[in-house]
Symmetry: C2
Subunit: 473 residues, 2 copies
């Protein structure tokens, strides 16, 4: 839980925590000996227990008085997945619940903080404007150190954004847009630089693809990302295969991170095994490196102290738990994070959408007719079997994929709430709900396609060229 406070107190080393635990243990014992006030003892015990949890999280070991922490710290995924728990890591998202992953449980397991009303209100206050619908509706539901970022921002201290994409195919679906739609909003409202990593090297290592294919997918996907409307003066998009070979500073950070993470650690965090290739084993350092501002000297002039904020889907958190563990040990600030839920497949919220199954999602290349057919044919319904029953008992929006999609794409809160009520009461039929979704998605996709058409090769080249951005140091 050391990470959830967002109090900017800086990194605690295992040894710091060990010593704090020793002191707290002493305190509890002396309070008990002195027969102190029950409330006081309880508070001291509570802190002791919390420190033990923190210690276990940081070191992977149980605290034991007299046994200082060993060097080889493991950053665990807060223990193995228990029966009935969801599986969430960068390669697998699985749940048996039709409502999707239990995100509250995930917050506890990952040790992050919930984006509750207080956080949303604070963002609204700092910005002086209404927060994005993804924040209002809990689509970005979890964070690390967001309070620290906002505090610094209030004191005129700038930060930068980092997000990314693994380009495993040419085809992107609407779910892939979620982090980019939100990141564009963050860029606009905070007026800050953004770096977008295309992990074509990762896709080469994990998939049965050639380097050339992965690189081509990176450039093609960059077109869709640019079409989200990013400001070329504030955005740098890079392919790992290109940028690693163009920036000695980036490689230096990769090597620094690789020196400070052991195989034991990546085994614990990512589940790698001895028969995994050495490329996979060392890759997490490459996804970590853009979290540090001196990986981009052309943007930040060699400064290493500019805080990074990473909006991403929660399945990417293991990479950044590792990054946050390494950061203080190599003299860099920990990146802050904003985590999103997963965009459900048309067939239901049990899994993430798959780029390889054309019927699992709405693709960015789909025609209005394809969108209509897919929603009508494949979108899992929370409605009843017959109109009569539906009118009588009402539908269940919590498992209805069309309704879920509307929470992502329908801007008007009141309209959405009305749809929810009408669907729940049975006043709104499944066919009518689907029609609203179709009419919401069709223009969004068509406009995206129109913007993508206007993205020229020259523009892609410009976005992908290392260069200074608008950033006042």
């Amino acid at each position: 839980m050391t990470d959830c406070q967002g109090d900017g107190e800086g990194a605690k080393s295992p040894m710091d925590l060990y010593e704090q635990l020793n002191a707290q243990g002493d305190k509890v014992r002396s309070l008990k000996t002195a027969k102190a006030d029950k409330g006081e003892v309880d508070a001291a015990v509570k802190l002791l227990l919390q420190l033990k949890v923190d210690y276990k999280e940081l070191t992977g070991q149980d605290y034991k008085a007299g046994c200082p922490p060993s060097e080889d710290v493991v950053v665990p995924d807060n223990g193995p997945v228990e029966d009935g728990e969801d599986t969430v890591d960068p390669w697998t998202v699985a749940t048996t619940n039709a409502k999707g992953v239990d995100y509250d449980k995930l917050i506890v397991r990952f040790g992050s903080s919930k984006i509750d009303k207080e956080v949303v209100d604070r963002i609204e206050k700092v910005l002086g404007q209404k927060p994005h619908r993804f924040l209002r509706r809990g689509i970005f539901f979890s964070h690390r150190d967001m309070h620290q970022v906002l505090e610094a921002y209030e004191k005129q201290k700038s930060f930068y954004l980092y997000t990314g994409r693994g380009p495993s195919s040419e085809a992107m679906h609407v779910g892939h847009l979620i982090p980019f739609i939100f990141t564009k909003w963050l860029q606009d409202v905070f007026d800050i630089p953004l770096v977008i990593q295309m992990t074509d090297d990762e896709k080469y290592l994990w998939k049965d693809l050639t380097l050339e294919e992965c690189h081509r997918f990176a450039v093609e996907n960059a077109r869709d990302i640019i079409a989200c409307g990013f400001d070329v003066n504030k955005t740098f998009i890079f392919s790992d295969l290109d940028y690693m070979g163009s920036s000695p500073e980036f490689y230096r950070n990769v090597v620094k991170i690789q020196k400070h993470v052991t195989f034991n650690q990546v085994k614990g965090i990512f589940g790698f095994s001895d028969s995994d290739c050495i490329g996979k084993i060392s890759f997490p350092a490459i996804q970590a490196a853009p979290s540090f501002s001196n990986s981009f000297p052309q943007i930040f002039g060699g400064r290493k102290d500019i805080q990074c904020l990473i909006p991403c889907a929660i399945d990417q958190d293991p990479y950044f738990r590792m990054t946050r563990d390494v950061a203080p040990r190599i003299g860099y600030p920990k990146p802050a994070l904003l985590h999103s839920t997963f965009f459900p497949a048309l067939q239901g919220a049990q899994t993430k959408m798959s780029a390889s199954d054309p019927n699992s999602s709405i693709f960015l290349t789909d025609t209005p007719k394809q969108i209509k057919n897919k929603v009508n044919k494949h979108a899992f319904s929370g409605g009843k079997d017959t109109v009569e029953e539906h009118r009588k008992y009402g539908g269940n929006p919590d498992v209805d994929v069309s309704f879920m999609y509307l929470t992502f794409f329908l801007e008007d809160d009141e309209q959405l709430e009305k749809i929810r009520q009408d669907y729940t009461s049975g006043a709104l039929l499944t066919g009518e709900l689907k029609k609203i979704l179709i009419e919401t998605l069709q223009p969004i996709i068509a406009e995206h396609q129109e913007r993508r058409k206007q993205v020229t090769d020259e523009m892609v080249k410009q976005f992908m060229t290392p260069r200074p951005l608008n950033f006042k140091i």
Copy 2:
């Protein structure tokens, strides 16, 4: 033993070998059934056993009829070190024998080929000139695929040289010059390009040094290397920390190699453990990458089929056994190798010299007086305790470090042989032998220092800038 033939037959895959074994097993059975001639049966059995050894070496598994080889091929160091055997890997060289490592045993263990008289004669024939004293005297004693290189060269097919240095300090000693002296000779007589890798990233990962220190050592060591007389039009020296961040093609090859080597394999080859950092685990790919010509498009215009010849000390062979295993799987030719023995410490041939012990070796910065004092004071002597005994029984040049050093640095074969005979007979005293060594080393070191002084920053920059070299494709 697949590697020792140097017959240019190309790489045998585990599956090829498995099938050859099946066929040979069938042949032995049918010969026995047919009660064939004993000599014929014996020859067939001998080949079968040899194939089984080859299979074990290539796959790390025992051959078993009916069980095709698994994907996860381990390249072993031909089994663990037995009691009394020498330890030779990139980080440890240890022997209990005063004559030094048993190099003939090493050839068998590593599965390389001896540079015997036939190989030396062939090099002489191909070149039309006397081979370097390091070849004549067995200092470069082992090879892989040298016949293939020579055959291709005779057919006007060019190749290139690759060697390197791990810059762990500013101080280089005479032993560090051995591969460079020899490589310069190879460059001169074959008139071919040379790439020299300074593994500053490796030193950062292995040692308690900063990135800046390692990079500075790389540049300082490059001065000493340049002072060996390399031709700037045919030589590219690069720091990994710089070149990885300047060449997307180099990084692409690193990733390709990293995809095709598992943790199991590097564990088997290099003895890495779970508590090693992920930088160490993936580093071998970085030392492997310069073995492939398309890592240097500025030199070879993107060609990937130009054979590489690597002169290096035998302790670096594990890296290149791995490289040779990977090469055919990613469509590149295997690099050929020339292995040198170790340059003995002044205290004796039991270990390599150490850059951190100033009395273990002659440094390139030593004054004539220091050289004289070190040789007189520290060079282990093979002579007898008193002049009388020495005159009577003679000295032992095989353990005498001064004599060993002369085999490295005295050019005249006849003079060296006379010294050997006189020392063995007792006609030459230890003090006299040391005097000859001192007088041989002093001008070599002084001349090196003179040449190093003339190496300007501008020259270092030129050698270390990626650029085309004189090379006719």
